[in-house]
């Protein structure tokens, strides 16, 4: 990997257990700043568990135990003094199914600001517009900001969720299968948006769709389960290398559709 890139997220010896079950085992990798890193692998290989570890979302699930270290800008996010609200504001998340609130388009994007206690109307309006522009949605919704978000198409709803995540000014955006519920054109629009966003944000995406990882990401991590069904990191590198000359035969088998 290119040594000149600044590391944003550093993961060291990460183990995550659901009860007694070891879901991911000994993951160590560095995620460069302002780039798109994709995590690919078959179902059940721990991709989403890994992603949720990056903003401690796993802790919302019962009986989860996390070992190891995840540092963002050199600070371990698992140290006891970390403010979870701040952490999740800094590390936003976009999910598989667009999940707008049953509120207006405007209120969806303003939501994060309001729960931060921001009252300044002008500031809220500015932030909503900026976030919608960054999410490449502004032109499509600027005339109907006070209509229900649920009237938007799936692709628009997903971009709205991205705008909602951007409104609280995160540095990292986690995306868990952000396009799997969208049609091919809406999918390409999300990918195009991701390429624009990486100029300012660090993006980590989990996807079943390895063509999507190939198209959009700069770096790709391939996960696979071992004989005990624990997810492991098999190979990690430049996306071009992973998709044209993977080093591990298991990666080759997976991306050529012969394995996994």
């Amino acid at each position: 990997m290119n040594n000149k890139l600044k590391i944003k997220i550093s993961v060291r010896n990460l183990n995550i257990y659901y009860g007694k079950f070891l879901a991911i085992k000994n993951i160590t990798l560095d995620i460069p700043e302002r780039s798109i890193t994709a995590v690919i692998g078959p179902s059940g290989c721990g991709k989403s568990t890994f992603l949720r570890a990056l903003n401690r979302m796993n802790e919302l699930l019962p009986d989860v135990k996390t070992e190891g270290e995840v540092s963002i800008d050199g600070r371990n996010i698992y140290s006891p003094d970390v403010d979870l609200v701040k952490l999740r504001r800094n590390v936003g998340m976009v999910f598989q199914r667009p999940n707008p609130f049953p509120k207006s388009i405007f209120e969806n994007v303003a939501f994060g600001l309001r729960i931060q206690g921001i009252r300044d109307r002008e500031r809220i309006e500015e932030t909503v517009e900026l976030s919608l522009r960054r999410a490449a949605l502004w032109d499509e919704v600027k005339d109907k900001l006070y209509k229900s978000a649920l009237e938007l198409s799936g692709g628009q709803q997903q971009r709205l969720c991205i705008a909602r995540a951007l409104a609280v000014q995160p540095q990292v955006i986690l995306m868990d299968e952000p396009a799997s519920a969208l049609d091919p054109i809406a999918t390409l629009r999300i990918e195009d948006l991701m390429r624009e966003l990486k100029e300012e944000y660090t993006i980590v995406i989990v996807t079943h769709n390895m063509q999507q990882a190939a198209r959009v990401s700069d770096f790709t991590a391939f996960f696979l389960t071992d004989e005990d069904r624990a997810g492991m990191l098999i190979e990690y590198g430049n996306t071009s290398d992973i998709f044209t000359m993977p080093k591990d035969p298991r990666t080759e088998g997976y991306i050529t559709g012969r394995y996994g």
Partner: protein, 220 residues
């Protein structure tokens, strides 16, 4: 609405520009090699030989970029034909440049020997072959199937000139054994130019394929 694949489009556009730049370098190499022959200019010949490294590198770089785009962007339909055309065409261009080097090497050998005869048909072969290549590249840029088809027809002229040069030089060899080495080298040069025209024809065929999807030989 912005075209969601504008970055991919930009990458293809850049590839097309690179191909064109490579084609221009290859045509210049052939042109210089024949100028070096006519003017008995060894240093120009050396320039052609040294310059080939750049073209060889472009060949590899463009191929790797095409492979990467196929792996990462899953090109379909027209995009796929453009990338396939570029992948095939760089090989023809690289061979054309290699022939320029072959000619340049002979030019350096002949420079030490007295001229056999004035050059008439060989520069003419060069001119027609390069006009074919120029038109093939122009057809690629402008997506002009008509121009591509027409340029391929001129391959017959080059073949006819080759036969003529061959027969003429054969008589020189039969008349004077001391002329054999020089005449043989000139036959090689004519042969290389004939091959340049064949490669230009291949480029023209690929351009027609790229535009229409129909792949066939345009000059059999």
């Amino acid at each position: 609405m912005v075209n969601p694949r504008h970055i991919f489009d930009e990458e293809i556009r850049r590839l097309r520009t690179d191909l064109l730049r490579m084609g221009t370098l290859a045509r210049e190499a052939v042109d210089k090699s024949i100028k070096a022959l006519v003017n008995r200019d060894s240093s120009l010949a050396e320039e052609v030989i040294v310059g080939d490294d750049i073209i060889d590198k472009m060949d590899l770089d463009i191929e790797m970029k095409c492979m990467e785009l196929i792996a990462r962007q899953q090109p379909m339909a027209r995009d796929l034909r453009v990338i396939g055309t570029i992948l095939k065409t760089i090989t023809d261009l690289e061979r054309i440049a290699d022939h320029a080097v072959d000619i340049a090497k002979i030019v350096k050998i002949l420079a030490d020997q007295p001229p056999l005869k004035p050059f008439i048909d060989i520069p003419k072969m060069c001119e027609i072959s390069l006009s074919m290549l120029d038109d093939a590249l122009k057809a690629f840029v402008n997506e002009d199937t008509e121009l591509a088809r027409k340029m391929c027809e001129r391959d017959d002229l080059v073949d006819a000139l080759y036969d003529q040069v061959f027969r003429e030089l054969l008589t020189y060899m039969m008349e004077d054994p001391k002329a054999v080495v020089r005449a043989l080298y000139l036959i090689f040069i004519a042969r290389f130019l004939e091959r340049v025209a064949d490669h230009a024809t291949n480029v023209g065929e690929r351009v027609v394929y790229m535009i229409t999807g129909v792949l066939k030989e345009l000059n059999v």
